[in-house]
Amino acid sequence: MAKELLKGNAAAGEAAVRAGADFFAGYPITPSTEILEYLSSRMGELGRTFIQAESEIAAVNMVLGASAAGARCITASSGTGISLKMEGYSYAESMKLPFVVVNVQRHGVGLGGLDSGQSDYFRETKGGGQGDYRRVVYAPSSIQEQVDMIYKSFDVAEKYRIGVTIFSEAVLGQMMEAVDMPPFKKREGELDWGIDGTGKKGIRNNKWTIFERVEMYHEIEEQYQEWENINVEDAEYVFVAAGLPARVCIDTVKKLREKGEKVGLIRLKTLWPYPVKAFKELGPNLKGLISVETNVQGQMVEDVALTCRKFKINAPIYCYAYGPGVPMVKEIVAKYEEVKSGKCEERF
């Protein structure tokens, strides 16, 4: 089928539809609103459920109810709206309810701004809601990749009865690209759990222990890490990045390699599980790792450091915390030169 030119957020909505999502509830917030707008008509067309909720709190709780009753559910939001949903992330885990959230990140604290960014790394990968729990986090670098990730996310969510976050960014949601839409699919087989009115398969029978969950988290960590390594084997300096900054890093590596610089890239596609296995491929020439991220403090760099500790990689770790937006190749090149010439302070 011919590719279609689609806006990131609309493509996210259509990918959910193709993946068999039959329930969406949400509340408008820039820059995620087009997902809501797109699905408001699309779900109706297909006889599926769309609700414009009164708040993100209500939206996530509608999703939890629907998920408990067996629907394939998705919601989307940004910034402060995700904060309101995070109580629901935790409730979902307490009942093992699968659902997908697209976080089209806007940068900043409080009301924040409308700039793009990755300032939600900590809360999406480490928690956010109360208690000990995990969610699978996919970080797409292109609209096509986002479509493919959403398409499989429901299967992963239902297999483990776990939440999945799509770690999108304002620019990814707002830009347009040509995409191949996958075919319509449905859940394979029937769920062996869920509220059906008889009391036989619902939450009441949801006996599980946190220890079983921890074992399951380990299984996911083992099996679901996704990454792409570019030119890392002989590299002296390796960028580590996800999402749109990683996409810019691909071009940066190409450009620097043309100049004879030995650089590489670990492009992370999942943020939890964190792709520690990617680091095993780093070569003996390594002189430094540079985490490139669009927040102001540098958040993901901590996981780079922890992973290096795990594999006893002693190279210094630097961070390019770009702030809001998406860095340009020349800006990353400049940072690289700073690092190489010893002008950049190590983070770890």
């Binding site: 709780n61 509608m62 408990a68 009115g197 009441r204």
Partner: protein, 245 residues
């Protein structure tokens, strides 16, 4: 001849305090479900509060976050439109922290039955002031008695909903302070469920209910309090029926 009533088949022994009204309403709902033939096709959206102890009943339930039963019930009902879905909540859950979800479910005229236990306090957390607490009533957070000029006046949720959302199916207030009112309340609950079965839209029944533990009264005196103090503030009856639609 003494009438002997047996426990409805799906009702387990409840775990509320002795003399608590939740237990009575619990049984009334169960009787209605069985009389309507929905014992294998229903689900409770339970609030956080003493109401969450209703899970001692058999059958499906969903434990919603505090205040969010109106939203969770919406998700469940829209997914399974032929299943009877009952949001079972305290006054604090439905009318304070969850007021937005409660009103918005009514606003959308969700085809749900909402049963709210009004015991004029936050029972589960030890008897704090609720929006339904009576003027002058002593609670752990209104130790000098509720001062309405400072804290607002008692909330009348069924009236608010009946007056604001003309399209809903049913709004009423009952009581479980004595047998006559218990029987009337059962009729209200049954109507609320029947409306849902008939796809007539949103129904809400608030039930004035004793909380002997936090009222520091014995069960009989608690019932007297309902009659003497609560009826003047919280009139019983139907505020909206399908016929008024």
């Amino acid at each position: 001849m003494a009438a002997i009533k047996t426990l409805p088949t799906g009702a387990n022994k409840h775990t509320f305090c002795p003399g608590c009204g939740h237990g009575i309403v619990n049984r009334l709902i169960r009787e209605c479900i069985e009389e309507l033939g929905y014992q294998d096709n229903y689900c409770f959206a339970l609030a956080v509060g003493c109401s969450c102890n209703l899970h001692s009943q058999k059958g499906d339930f969903f434990q919603a976050a505090h205040g969010r039963a109106g939203a969770a019930a919406t998700g469940i009902k829209r997914t399974r439109p032929d299943m009877l879905v009952i949001a079972y909540q305290g006054d604090g859950d439905a009318g304070v922290i969850g007021l937005a979800e409660t009103l918005n479910a009514a606003y959308r005229n969700e085809n749900l039955s909402v049963i709210i236990i009004n015991n004029t306090n936050f029972g589960m957390t030890g008897g704090q002031m609720s929006w339904t607490t009576m003027p002058g009533e002593v609670t752990t957070t209104s130790t000098a008695g509720r001062n309405c000029d400072y804290n607002g006046y008692p909330q009348h949720l069924p009236e608010m909903i009946a007056n604001s959302f003309s399209h809903i199916a049913y709004s009423a207030r009952g009581s479980v302070a004595d047998v006559k009112h218990i029987m009337e309340t059962k009729k209200m609950i049954k109507k609320a469920l029947q409306n849902q079965i008939d796809k007539a839209g949103y129904s809400i029944v608030e039930v004035l209910s004793p909380c002997p533990t936090n009222w520091h009264l014995d069960p009989l005196k608690s019932c007297d309090r309902i009659e003497n103090e609560l009826y003047p503030e919280y009139p019983l009856g139907e505020f909206k029926t399908r016929e008024d639609k």
